[in-house]
Symmetry: C2
Subunit: 332 residues, 2 copies
Amino acid sequence: MTEKQFDVLGIGNAIVDVLSRAEESFLVEQRLDKGAMRLIEAGEAERLYGLMGPGIEMSGGSAGNTLHGIASLGGKAAFIGKVRDDTLGQIFRHDMQAAGVHFTSQPATDGPPTARCLILVTPDGQRTMNTYLGACVELTPEDVDPVLVAASAFTYLEGYLWDPPQAKAAFLKAANTAHEAGRKVALSLSDSFCVERHRREFRALVEKHVDVLFANEDEIKSLFEVSSFDDALQAIRGQVEIAALTRSEKGAVIVAGPEVHVIDAEPVDKLVDTTGAGDLYASGFLYGLTRGLPVAVCGTLGAVAAAEIISHFGARPEVSLAELIADKVHSG
Amino acid sequence: MTEKQFDVLGIGNAIVDVLSRAEESFLVEQRLDKGAMRLIEAGEAERLYGLMGPGIEMSGGSAGNTLHGIASLGGKAAFIGKVRDDTLGQIFRHDMQAAGVHFTSQPATDGPPTARCLILVTPDGQRTMNTYLGACVELTPEDVDPVLVAASAFTYLEGYLWDPPQAKAAFLKAANTAHEAGRKVALSLSDSFCVERHRREFRALVEKHVDVLFANEDEIKSLFEVSSFDDALQAIRGQVEIAALTRSEKGAVIVAGPEVHVIDAEPVDKLVDTTGAGDLYASGFLYGLTRGLPVAVCGTLGAVAAAEIISHFGARPEVSLAELIADKVHSG
């Protein structure tokens, strides 16, 4: 087996977030589905940006956020994703590397600009995302370095990768390479509309390629086309080694073979912005797995990391997560 | 007199902030003067950025922050400043316009890129700034539209404009145009090192061109080369119509002709980041003046706006300042 160099390698859309506060009425006027992620073209991105309030720019992307979180927890993290050689691409690269994430994917030198996600945060802290994929559509199997995959204990893939047409092949190459090297594959279902778009393929993926699955309640219900959480829970049992099913303030349910754990959410003083909640949950959970901790403790680490991220604006941690979890790891 | 269209026109360096948390030890290693603003060249900006942690990008600039604040308070605000026609320039323009600030300065189509300020925020909430002026050096007197100046009750100038070589002439054109039109001129001294660089000229400016002066304790002491705050206070009396002298948590002293008011700082739950404290103080104070409020009430509005900005990351308000001051204006 290749020597392990990284705890987790993430592969995802490399995106810079543009976060702005918005009233509920703005979502209604613009007919936006609150809490969802929709894909938009360049023209719509320009139109919507023109209507949005003043913004804050921060590196984002679902797997990007997760890997930043893993580095902040003290894990060895690597990331593969496609930016362009433009200002936002430089910002994305800087932020990953400054967080301690190994990120050497070559930027595209032509084609569409670095991806951006226009995120509207309503007064209730909920986020509604509008993603212009830009350079992410240039990610191909050639960007997946098999040596890097084989040297990573976990390869973590975001379901959103199913949207850019060529990324799917990169995704499958990574999953196959990981398993051939005796490594584990983790997947986030990303978004319930994303599951709707790709349900049949996601079902096959989960059965054949995924060891650890992350999904929120809407996503797992959509995957199995059931209306109750418990039905979804029963459906996923036995399909993957571990499933971590998150339910916002209701906490999470962890399924691991015959074990089922129900872990409470970590309390937060004030919910400011849910952007990145699921991503950082995955950071904590995966970090725990790479440390060989029991799945219930992994669930608590996920809850702690998610609580940190929703207590402020943006999807990148504001404090050292390693310090935040220090007592949890020892007490576990 | 030209009909009034704007309460305040700001002229300043148009800058995008790159904010990052840093330890005290990083400032020591890099020999940075904590709390100060230093000017850096492109190469040093690249070097320092490479060493900084993950960043958050937000529109900034001292006068830019002040004018955003005035718009957020409900005032009619305009801004003149130079960006390039690049990504950061588009972000700056978007954010000003989205905040409701009239901003139509033409971007430079060649020359250096849009200015950026690398801001290191230490755990005590203090900010240390490193400014690459970029396109700001292209601001010339031609960018100052005399019709806009004459149509604004106040023209607000930042002392930092004395740094880019051609902006000084733009500054003086604006001040002269304002007075010829029977309008008022306000100035912020910006930074004690900036005062040191330009002390002789700033002294002449204050005597001849300034009606309303904003300065913090270090700046006003540097201007008059005195070591006690009270000496500086006595020195400024009679030199300008109104001087608002800010002293961080000690509050502010307002001098207006024979009147002297000592106004307490507004309490904050937690000091997160002092970036923009002085800028937003000026927002509140100037807004009060344009509403004809007593100077003591103007001081309170300044304190409330400053308290909002230091309770979170970044120098642009997170909430509607108009709602925040509603009771203060009525009780005044």
